[in-house]
Symmetry: C2
Subunit: 98 residues, 2 copies
């Protein structure tokens, strides 16, 4: 698996907006054939901080995600709600192996 | 979901040992009824750094994991291979909701 942890810090007055938009992105992303996980995590001690845990079968599938209508719509919708730029960190998924 | 990201830094001469032991832990952990993910990730730019992405249906299931024979065996096996103490960071899993 090709995994990306996207660290997100949202403006405090747009947390609910961000969750609603990201729910739609989650629902569409898990339908992508190369997707394995699209988990949306919130820090328990700071509701403005999130991680998107995005796992794809390979780097090509991860790249294809960024060309989908739902990703592009999400990116546009959340742009003004970021408290700071998102940070994506890539990892090699060893297990599971599929 | 109750999610924990466990950040692991392994001694350079025990990377393969750690992967082999953690593979066994992965294989057993995903059989636990409350487990949703037990992904093992390796940093692409530093083979000695890993993340264990552990998702359970709730905090009780995560606690139960730490009482299993496979977890206790893993913990014992890897103890001398740590370059520094493991750091577990908990998150609230918003999506998926099951």
């Amino acid at each position: 698996m090709h995994v990306t942890l996207v660290h997100v810090h949202v403006k405090a007055d747009h947390i609910d907006d961000f969750i609603a938009a990201t729910r739609l992105n989650h629902q569409a992303s898990i339908q992508e054939p190369g997707n394995r996980r699209f988990d949306v995590l919130q820090a328990p001690d700071d509701a403005s901080r999130f991680i998107l845990y995005e796992a794809y079968v390979d780097a090509n599938a991860a790249t294809a995600h960024k060309q989908t209508a739902h990703y592009l719509s999400w990116r546009n919708n959340v742009a003004d709600w970021m408290a700071e730029p998102r940070q994506g960190v890539a990892y090699r998924g060893l297990f599971p192996q599929d």
